[in-house]
């Protein structure tokens, strides 16, 4: 068991990779065996993430050096520069790991029946597992170039999954836009990595943070990192490709793609807090991120109210909810300079933003899956054609209501808990931000009631007379996320204390991150 814990960071990445290439030979034997392989490997990865999380919460940062004589050896032979690829898993990374493991498991179970009628299922699950491995790599790695490689793996497999149903013309166009944007963003990110490597001759985030002097080249590198990663998360001026790609993907793939954009947001936080830390001009970068959050929130939700395609409507909501996270953590970054403001509301702002990542990662995939369930049964995504589906899709109705109340921030459910933290702390920083955030919440509730009214309520339309409830695996997939939402809504204190606050401290405490790499050297 102890060996399993020490090797768990790389096992979490390698097992989905291994399962990805096993799906082809096993898939030839039979669909059932392949499905068992996929779900078993993802369940084992979930188990590994949980034991790794427990180990990190007990005794701090977990280092894993690939290929060294022992996993903790970061500076072999007393060298001053960390050699080899080092996976550094601290409380913030494992926080994202828990989210990604649960959502990918739920999405895989959902896709068992959602994709049952598609041809080429072996390749679908190979790509799905590759995306799981790519995103875990992005979350756990402590090496900038390795972050680029895993970013590209997740993007390529994501684009191929978006365009999986090549019989739809818009699916291929969505996939094409996703891969073009990801390729350009990846190359611009690589340019920034090259700039940093030119100055400090190393790629390891811990070492770079230690040697960083924030020269002009570093400012250019920071902008390239910032913009190339935020375009992948759907920041407002750069978000226009986001709805096109996320509408046309199968519902479970959109659910997972939302979490890959969370991983890109995590990478922005890792670069701003752990790589640059206090050396960067905190107030300006903080204010840039806050304004990005403000714009993203407002434009995202105003565009969402206008949509009539249910998946496009929810993609715009995913964009606007990202605005909350940007604003929360941006406020924390803006006050990173003066410790007294950080203590009063800065830390609460960051934990509010990070808690919102967790909540968003639970209700947004659930909402995408309910939209997928509607598409699965009615064959259309257009809200104008739907009506009265609540009569015969009872479970989807209940799950949709849970998701809607949660995304709109209605008190008992978990959306409210994180928005509450964000409102309170951001108000102290600048009241206008909290006012806009509340306005956006109101419009979110208004738009979701519109979708609820047009899809579920109303008389039973003749053409949907014989619509049955969605098959069992889809309900299980959605049920896992709904259970997560209800648990977080009833015990928010427990979640914030145990999972969110350590992640916030890990993000703020750059010295611990650097010490994990530089201090870990053994002769």
């Amino acid at each position: 068991m102890a060996a399993l814990i020490t090797h768990s960071p790389i096992l979490i990445i390698a097992i989905p990779l291994l399962a990805a290439f096993l799906t082809l030979p096993i898939g030839r034997a039979g669909g059932k065996a392949r499905n068992v392989l996929v779900i078993a490997s993802l369940a084992f990865v979930e188990f590994l993430v949980i034991i790794l999380a427990r180990d990190i919460y007990l005794n701090g940062i977990h280092i894993y050096t690939l290929g060294a004589t022992s996993p903790e050896l970061t500076l072999p032979g007393g060298a001053m520069v960390p050699i080899r690829i080092i996976l550094e898993v601290d409380a913030m990374s494992i926080f994202m790991g828990i989210i990604w493991a649960t959502v990918s498991l739920a999405a895989a179970i959902y896709s068992l029946s959602h994709m049952a009628r598609e041809t080429g299922q072996n390749r679908f699950y190979t790509l799905l597992l590759l995306m799981v491995a790519g995103c875990f790599g992005m979350i756990f790695t402590g090496d900038l170039f390795n972050l680029f490689v895993f970013l590209e793996i997740a993007s390529i497999s994501g684009a191929a999954l978006i365009a999986f149903r090549t019989r739809f013309a818009d699916a291929v166009e969505g996939g094409f836009k996703y891969i073009v944007i990801s390729a350009v963003a990846g190359l611009i990110f690589l340019f920034g990595v090259g700039l940093l490597y030119a100055q400090y001759n190393s790629l390891n985030i811990g070492f770079l943070a230690n040697a960083m002097q924030y020269s002009t080249l570093d400012i250019i590198a920071l902008t390239l990192f910032l913009m190339s990663l935020t375009i992948k998360t759907g920041m407002v001026p750069l978000h226009m490709w986001y709805p096109d790609s996320y509408t046309v993907a199968p519902a479970n793939i959109t659910a997972m793609l939302v979490i890959t954009s969370h991983a890109c947001m995590y990478a922005v936080f890792r670069i701003c807090f752990s790589l640059y830390g206090i050396t960067l001009d905190a107030t300006t970068v903080g204010w840039i991120i806050v304004i990005i959050g403000l714009l993203t929130m407002f434009v995202g939700v105003t565009m969402a109210v206008f949509q009539t395609d249910v998946m496009r409507f929810m993609s715009y909501h995913a964009i606007s909810q990202m605005g909350y996270m940007w604003m929360g953590v941006g406020v924390g970054l803006a006050v990173l300079g003066n410790p007294e403001a950080l203590a009063t509301y800065g830390r609460d702002a960051i934990s509010g933003g990070i808690f919102h990542i967790l909540n968003h990662a639970m209700y947004k995939p659930l909402l995408f899956m309910t939209a997928g369930a509607l598409f699965h049964r009615t064959g259309t995504r257009d809200l104008n054609k739907m009506g009265g589906l609540g009569h015969n899709m009872k479970f989807t109705l209940i799950l949709y209501i849970i998701g809607t109340l949660s995304i709109a921030g209605i008190p008992p459910l978990n959306g409210f808990a994180s928005k509450f933290l964000i409102y309170e702390s951001v108000y102290q920083f600048n009241p206008v931000l909290a006012v806009v955030a509340m306005l956006v919440s109101i419009i979110t509730l208004a738009s979701f009631t519109k979708a609820f009214q047009s899809a579920f309520t109303g008389p039973q339309l003749p053409e949907y007379k014989d619509v049955k409830e969605v098959p069992k695996p889809m309900l299980i997939g959605m049920g896992i996320l709904a259970a997560g939402i209800i648990f977080t809504s009833i015990f928010p204190g427990l979640i914030v204390e145990r999972i969110v606050n350590p992640a916030t401290d890990a993000l703020i405490n750059q010295a611990a991150y650097v010490n994990g790499i530089m201090g870990g050297g053994m002769p």
Partner: protein, 111 residues
């Protein structure tokens, strides 16, 4: 129970308060008119218009918030036309974004 700069959020307390409020509302409703029978009310009065079929009575999604969009037309028309689906425009936004952020950081850094 979450602590925040100027308050706290306890969902369990809130749920209990909600149940108490619902009970009070239920008692007030119980004291209403006993004689009312559920099925007595007849069809809605449509001023003599012909009865619409199932499909027509259901309000479709596109005209629910008609007034909202009409009111904000000056905001909506430019934003929606800005959302062209052309990839080249998306890349123009990206390059413009990089340029703007770089200028802001240099100007702020310089002061």
């Amino acid at each position: 129970m979450i602590e925040s700069p100027s308050g706290f959020w306890g969902p369990v307390v809130w749920i209990i308060a909600a149940i108490v409020a619902l009970l009070i509302a239920y008692f007030i409703q119980r004291r209403g008119e006993k004689a009312y029978k559920k099925g007595v009310q007849s069809e809605t009065f449509l001023m003599g218009n012909p009865k619409l079929s199932e499909g027509e009575t259901h309000i479709r999604a596109h005209n629910i918030y008609w007034g909202f969009f009409e009111g904000l037309k000056k905001y909506y028309v430019p934003t929606i036309t800005a959302h062209t689906g052309i990839i080249n425009d998306h890349l123009i936004w990206l390059i413009a974004g990089i340029a703007i952020v770089m200028i802001i950081l240099f100007v702020a850094g310089g002061i």
